[in-house]
């Protein structure tokens, strides 16, 4: 299972890196989403995969018994997903607005802020 997840993480990182290097804004946003998911899966995998119950103390018991899954990676991932959700939604709206305003989604054409005024390149 860990091996499978490792492969998936690797594929996600590779695909994400490839996509953010593209010139199309849509591909870049997908690349960013992939990278975020890869990081989330990585936290999940690195936090040890255990077959266990959620870390809840049963009614009347004084502590955890038996195998239980580490709740912290799950909490981290949940937080990261929530943050990622908000940020990605914002980015999509931003990219859409940019496309509408500038009329292009080719990142190579967005050089105005990097040029010297009057410069040609």
């Amino acid at each position: 299972m860990t091996f499978l997840l490792a492969v998936i993480i690797g594929v996600l990182y590779a695909a994400g890196t490839y996509l953010i290097l593209r010139r199309s804004m849509v591909k870049v946003i997908f690349g960013l989403i992939f990278l975020g998911h890869a990081a989330n899966l990585m936290i999940f995998t690195v936090g040890r995969l255990t077959k266990g119950a959620p870390a809840f103390v049963a009614e009347g018991a004084s502590g955890l018994t038996g195998a239980f899954a580490d709740p912290l990676p799950q909490a981290l991932i949940l937080t990261a997903i929530v943050i990622g959700f908000g940020v990605q939604a914002f980015t999509i709206v931003l990219f859409k607005r940019t496309y509408q305003t500038l009329g292009t989604e080719d990142l190579d054409e967005m050089r105005r802020t990097d040029q010297l005024p009057g410069g040609k390149s």
Partner: protein, 505 residues
């Protein structure tokens, strides 16, 4: 007393919520913004004096003991940074009243500014790495919106670059946090400082350290990770650029300082210091060369941010108490001077009609006092005695010589010549030379059209920050002694650890 650490986070949050609830009362937003910033200032000073007198303050949120819960910690370094963020927050709140148009105000400019300050304060005060990630995101998302507010084409273009690169760095941060947790089983900074030296499997430690360095390097705009900064910082209104320039990159520098002194101690991070030393040299040179080529005043200043970050990183990487104290003093001085220069650039635009230095001129003849207001932060930044930048550079360079880093010290010195050159360029072009559009008459500009109160709101922050630069320069010693105390505490993490973990671990 420890509970006071909550306030730099709660005050902006409550203010932002109040503004959202009263969302059509824009006039009230302005007042609330100033009041909240002033309150934060008082609280920040209280925290600062408490950390100076009685050591590290820490708070376990929700009563969950460290390392299980989230700790908020204020040591002297955090306290200094919180004071600076409150100062810049207050000045920007005033400056915004004079410069931000009503449309932006209706689209939640003021609450966003408060949330930005909350994120910045949170990053300074947290004692938990994942929590640091969360505060970074709070800060980033508010800065994203502030950056695009208004939706001009160049703003959107700048924002695309800013957002993409910062999201990339967030993804790297997250991956680094995950690996670190897998190795050490904790994310509390104090707990990590205890556990990392005891780890058995250390193979990935360098990888994690480098990942963190890249993340914070992107935030701090270190060479070669700075490209988003000059592409975006000159696009939003000046008040926004100023607060970004003053605070956001410095959060990255703060994180580097905190991380590679408290969490990773010297031996584990030796490689990082080497990389940082090298890249600091490039950061200084590339930044200043970029600045020299520019004619847009805000772009010129944006490149200077990068160059100045180089000095701070240089000092941090040297790691001696003198160097760290110098780096800190440099950071404090730079936050003040750089923010002030951005304010000045906004005033230049309002008086002369353009940011482009080629198109304007003759400001000194029309407004001689304004010339003085520009010269204080400009010469301060370049390092002319007796202003604050001179002392900051002196200490950093002295620490460089003591550490035997001759080459980089020489670089630092020559870069400061170029800094002076580009400041004089602004002076010559905007203030000294005749206006290329012919004689202008005083008193009929954008600035004069806005009414006395707003004019005062623009001038006041420039004067206040200028005075701070002068005070730092003339009364350098007491401030520097404070910075020495801060640096000593930072390089001795034992007190920090004891305060957070209560001496249990």
């Amino acid at each position: 007393m420890n509970r006071i650490i909550m306030l730099p986070l709660l005050i902006p949050l409550v203010t932002a919520v109040a503004m959202l609830l009263l969302r059509n009362r824009v006039q009230l937003h302005r007042v609330l913004n100033v009041v909240s910033a002033a309150l934060s200032g008082v609280v920040a000073l209280a925290i600062f004096s408490a950390t100076m007198s009685s050591g590290v303050l820490s708070l376990q949120v929700g009563g969950w003991e460290a390392p299980f819960g989230i700790s908020l910690v204020a040591d002297r370094l955090s306290a200094v940074m919180v004071v600076m963020s409150a100062l810049i927050g207050l000045c920007t709140a005033l400056y915004s009243i004079g410069t931000i148009d009503e449309d932006r105000e209706h689209y939640f400019y003021h609450p966003l500014l408060q949330l930005l300050l909350m994120g910045v304060n949170g990053a300074f005060l947290t004692g938990d790495i994942f929590n640091l990630y969360v505060w970074f995101e709070v800060m980033l998302i508010s800065s994203f919106v502030l950056l695009v507010l208004g939706g001009l084409p160049q703003q959107l273009e700048g924002a695309i670059k800013y957002v993409t690169l910062n999201l990339l760095s967030s993804a790297i941060f997250l991956a680094a946090v995950g690996i670190l947790y897998g190795m050490a089983g904790t994310l509390n900074m104090a707990d990590l400082a205890v556990r990392i030296p005891l780890l058995e499997h250390r193979e990935l430690l360098t990888v994690v350290a480098v990942l963190f360095m890249i993340t914070f390097g992107v935030k701090a705009a270190v060479f070669p990770l700075f490209f988003w900064l000059p592409a975006s910082y000159h696009t939003p209104p000046v008040a926004v650029s100023a607060v970004f320039a003053g605070l956001l990159t410095k959060v990255g520098v703060y994180a580097i300082m905190r991380f590679f002194t408290t969490v990773f101690v010297r031996d584990d991070a030796a490689l990082i210091y080497d990389i940082l030393l090298w890249s600091s040299g490039f950061t200084m040179v590339v930044g200043v060369l970029g600045a020299v080529a520019q004619y847009d005043m805000r772009k010129l200043l944006s490149f200077h941010i990068i160059s100045q970050i180089g000095y701070m990183i240089f000092a941090v990487a040297l790691q001696s108490p003198l160097a760290v104290a110098g780096g800190l003093f440099y950071m404090v001085h730079n936050i003040v001077a750089k923010t002030n220069l951005f304010y000045v650039s906004g005033l230049v635009k309002r008086l002369a009609g353009s940011y482009c230095l080629r198109d304007i001129g003759g400001l000194y003849r029309l407004y001689p006092l304004f010339g003085l207001l520009f010269l204080v932060p400009a010469l301060g930044l370049a390092g002319i005695p007796p202003l604050s930048g001179f002392w900051a550079k002196l200490v950093v360079i002295r620490a460089g010589i003591e550490a035997g880093a001759w080459g980089l010290t020489a670089v630092a010195l020559s870069v400061s010549m170029l800094t002076l050159f580009s400041m004089i360029k602004i002076w010559n072009e905007a203030f000294w030379k005749d206006d290329p559009r012919g004689e202008q008459s005083a008193g009929r500009t954008e600035y004069h059209a806005i009414g006395r109160l707003k004019q005062g709101m623009i001038i006041a922050p420039i004067v206040v920050l200028g005075l701070v630069t002068v005070v730092f320069g003339f009364w350098f010693e007491p401030f520097f002694e404070m910075m020495m105390l801060v640096a000593e505490e930072l390089l001795e993490p034992a007190r920090y650890i004891r305060s957070v973990t209560g001496g249990v671990l």
